[in-house]
């Protein structure tokens, strides 16, 4: 293990380390803690400049209720769900098929197609913006949920294909070959052999991509505009303009917007990190 286990250090170092841990977390998360503290204050406190003292009254329930009753936050959250869930399903499905093709068939263009998916995944959004916006308008999808769903499926398929391909490469080829010898069709091989084996990977991928799509802001600005369609990121940013003085509400909104990916992360931590660190140990 590196660095040396702290248990083997002197008692003093050992204890200092354990004390330093919680302190470092508080410092690291200080901006966030400040926002969380603000979200439970009253407007009175904020107007009187009581930002750091004990809240004169706890407005946890009031503030968070007000976010939902006097702003379209609930609508934004629903929009985010309506956009994110099908988009995740779409790109996991497409990339599992594409990943299988790239991992288990030898054909000439294989590595180049793979490289294209990866390269596309790194492209700056701005180089896609005008054509994708035009396309969306031409399809009659501008300012609909579909505008964002279709784009996210297409774009995330790049990263997802990389992920699925690298996972499927590791599956035993003998299994697929012996099925082929038995005369099982290619599609049935995919359905009955590959799919059950990739289930854990698709779960990991889904969590990761959910976070990416949920947190998207740029496309939410470019492809939709009305409150009925806007996801929570763009919604929050719009609220920030309208509710400038009501920091307690904006903070509560920010906490609500951040919650779904955070909950997913804490419940599926291992999968999430496995996806992000893909390739960080060899290559």
């Amino acid at each position: 293990m590196y660095p040396r286990p702290i248990e083997k250090a002197s008692a003093f170092t050992n204890i200092s380390y354990r004390v330093a841990l919680p302190i470092s977390i508080v410092l690291w998360l200080l901006p966030l803690l400040a926002v969380m503290a603000t979200s439970v204050r009253s407007l009175n406190d904020i107007n009187q400049g009581n930002y750091w003292g004990w809240p004169s009254e706890w407005m946890l329930i009031e503030n968070y209720t007000q976010v939902f009753t006097s702003t379209p936050m609930f609508q934004y959250l629903m929009n985010s769900l309506i956009i994110t869930l099908p988009a995740v399903a779409g790109c996991v499905a497409l990339s599992t098929m594409a990943g299988f093709a790239l991992a288990k068939y030898n054909f000439k263009a294989n590595i180049w197609i793979f490289a294209t998916f990866i390269a596309g995944n790194f492209v700056p959004f701005q180089i896609l913006m005008i054509p994708v916006r035009d396309l969306t308008i031409q399809f009659g999808l501008y300012d609909t949920h579909w505008a964002l769903i279709l784009f996210h499926v297409a774009f995330q398929t790049g990263f997802c294909t990389l992920f699925m391909r690298n996972f499927i490469v590791g599956l035993p080829t003998e299994l697929i070959e012996s099925a082929r010898v038995e005369g099982v069709s290619e599609f049935k091989i995919f359905w009955h052999i590959v799919l059950p084996l990739v289930k854990p990977a698709t779960a990991a991928l889904a969590v990761l991509v959910f976070t990416f799509i949920w947190n998207d802001f740029f496309w939410a600005l470019v492809l939709v505009q009305s409150d009925e369609v806007r996801p929570v990121t763009a919604g929050l940013s719009a609220l920030q303009g309208q509710w400038l003085a009501s920091w307690q509400l904006i903070s509560a909104g920010a906490v609500v917007a951040a919650l779904p990916p955070v909950i997913l992360f804490f419940t599926m931590q291992r999968h999430f990190i496995a996806g992000l660190t893909l390739g960080a140990t060899k290559g």
């Binding site: 293990m1 590196y2 660095p3 702290i6 248990e7 354990r18 841990l21 977390i25 998360l29 966030l32 400040a34 400049g49 930002y51 750091w52 497409l94 098929m97 594409a98 093709a101 068939y105 294989n110 197609i113 490289a115 990866i118 390269a119 596309g120 790194f122 492209v123 700056p124 959004f125 701005q126 180089i127 896609l128 913006m129 005008i130 054509p131 396309l135 279709l150 398929t157 080829t173 082929r180 010898v181 005369g183 290619e186 947190n215 802001f217 740029f218 470019v222 990121t233 929050l236 940013s237 920091w247 903070s251 917007a257 951040a258 990916p261 660190t277 390739g279 960080a280 060899k282 290559g283």
Partner: protein
Amino acid sequence: MTSSSSNKSPENAVNSASELTAGKRLRASDVAPWMFLGPALIIFSIYVLFPVLQSIWLSFFEWDGLGEKTFIGFGNYVELFDSDQFWTALTNNIMWMVLFMLAPPMGLAIALFLNQQVYGIRLVKALFFFPFVISQVVVGLVFSWFYDPSFGVLNSVITFFGGDPVSILADEDLVTYGIIAAGLWPQIAYCMILYLTGLNNLNHEQLEAARLDNAKGWKMLWYIVLPQLRPATFIAIVVTVIGALRSFDLVATMTAGGPWGSSTVLAYMMYEESIFNYRMGYGAAVAVVLFLIMDIYIAYFLWRMIRSEK
């Protein structure tokens, strides 16, 4: 069918005993990859590949987004290179790239700090990773609040030590540093996770051998540990550069490029020119410049990847 060419693939060579059925199977496994790839390739081409080419094409036109397109050759680029705003944006992008390079070493430092097995360490690691999981819009809001001159945490600290409050986001000279600091927060978290994974996979025998030879401190880190962490460092640098060049969300939420365009970056400038000023061709030219800069890193990454596949 062209059984001779298909026979090259090893999985089919096994089947060549039965000519007829083999022929059928060969055909199936020639077509099959394209059936599986088809949907992904089609939608990826429509939404990613063609738009890249269309944007490059568009950058040679004067276009307001609705009316006629007028071909002006390199006109947009000439105007771009003459514009102060462009150089401000480019300079800011370079500042982002340079300062973002702090993320890998700082991520490594935190990873080394946290790579212990004490009680509750998993929760601590998760909390350190936290900033990466939340949306950049929320990060932007959080930091705007953090920097606020009248009630932000930062100014409370400064005034506590007797300093004068500074309005970071309204100060032309400080604003970009302020936004970059906000961007570093999640980026350091990402690098930390990459290094924590790398540290988990160190070669123990090599470490023990080095320890027997009395290697410690910086020497140990530099000569024994860092070489083993090279894959993690490579990915950390790639995602950090791409992250720096992609910076948009924070600029948009924290300052909208202000004050007076001083915190803009290429990504934000492009958005502003196209959406607010209706200059699609000019915006496309900005995007192409950004794309070309990014291509250097994309090409390098692909080159490494293809080499490791072969």
